[in-house]
Symmetry: C2
Subunit: 169 residues, 2 copies
């Protein structure tokens, strides 16, 4: 396998992987492409490499910028926008964890609080069982949420340090 084939395979596989995690396949491919590109790329570069439309590049690049995974850069003597991805894998992990926490974990907790005290016969088995489930899940979610929050606020390299410390123990 030569270098170009390896790049191609990485981009394709990363796209498939992303799809399994609920990420638009093109967005994952685009992220993979920018991740392995030493130089920043223009919309045209991306359109050509991934064989996708201008609109598609634009939408998915914007989404990656929203996640903080990609930034826009300008080259001197050139009007076009170029895109450059974060290269540090631990920083990438942190950005993703932070974003999913905000978008998904926090809303779950709000929901579970809301569902914690429904009206109904509080002595029925059915009622007790439901409330117990919600409580368990809320405790779980809060534990994860607090831990993630603490880790994000701590050292830039929290995730690395966490796993290293666990391996040494």
């Amino acid at each position: 396998m030569n270098l170009d084939e390896a790049k191609e395979k990485f981009v394709q596989t990363w796209g498939g992987l992303g799809a399994q995690w609920g990420i638009n396949k093109t967005m994952a491919q685009l992220h993979a492409l920018l991740f392995i590109s030493a130089e920043s790329l223009s919309t045209e570069d991306i359109m050509e490499t991934l064989q996708i439309s201008r609109g598609n590049v634009n939408m998915n690049v914007r989404e990656l910028i929203d996640w903080g995974l990609v930034q826009r850069v300008n080259k001197t003597g050139n009007r076009k926008d170029y895109y450059l991805a974060e290269k540090d894998v631990w920083k990438i992990a942190k950005l993703i964890v932070r974003e999913r926490k905000k978008r998904e974990l926090e809303p779950i907790i709000s929901l579970l609080v809301e569902l914690g005290k429904p009206e109904g016969d509080k002595n029925s088995q059915e009622y007790k069982s439901f409330v117990e489930s919600m409580t368990q899940l809320k405790n779980f979610s809060e534990t994860i949420n607090n831990s993630v929050e603490r880790m994000i606020k701590a050292d830039e390299n929290w995730l690395g340090n966490l796993f290293l410390s666990m391996l040494k123990k």
Copy 2:
């Protein structure tokens, strides 16, 4: 909000959540429904509650059984199959982590090993940059993989203990 409304809302929201993580919405709803049901449910119970077809119930229940999140149970004096979900949230988390590790993390690592040494001019900037990316990602993936493996093999309550210990530190 009464009990039935709360149950309904939980099932719907959990379904939406699952979809964001690449899980079939119906599968996530079905899991939510079984999770909050004290009693095991039959195919008919599920069809009626979620308003979905028999085939759909069958396919998604099988998938949940594959993940180890649901088991088939038989009631005496009754020929039908009933389905019962794991209720312990930490055990659920463990089952999901274990399965995603096996299905996704391990294949990534194989890929990264394969892509680590492509043919090409080993002195070019482009070559060095790609190999460096693959190496970083492989190290990251292996750290996560080893940690997860260690945790799964350890205490049944590894994940809980992990986060508790982090909070105390």
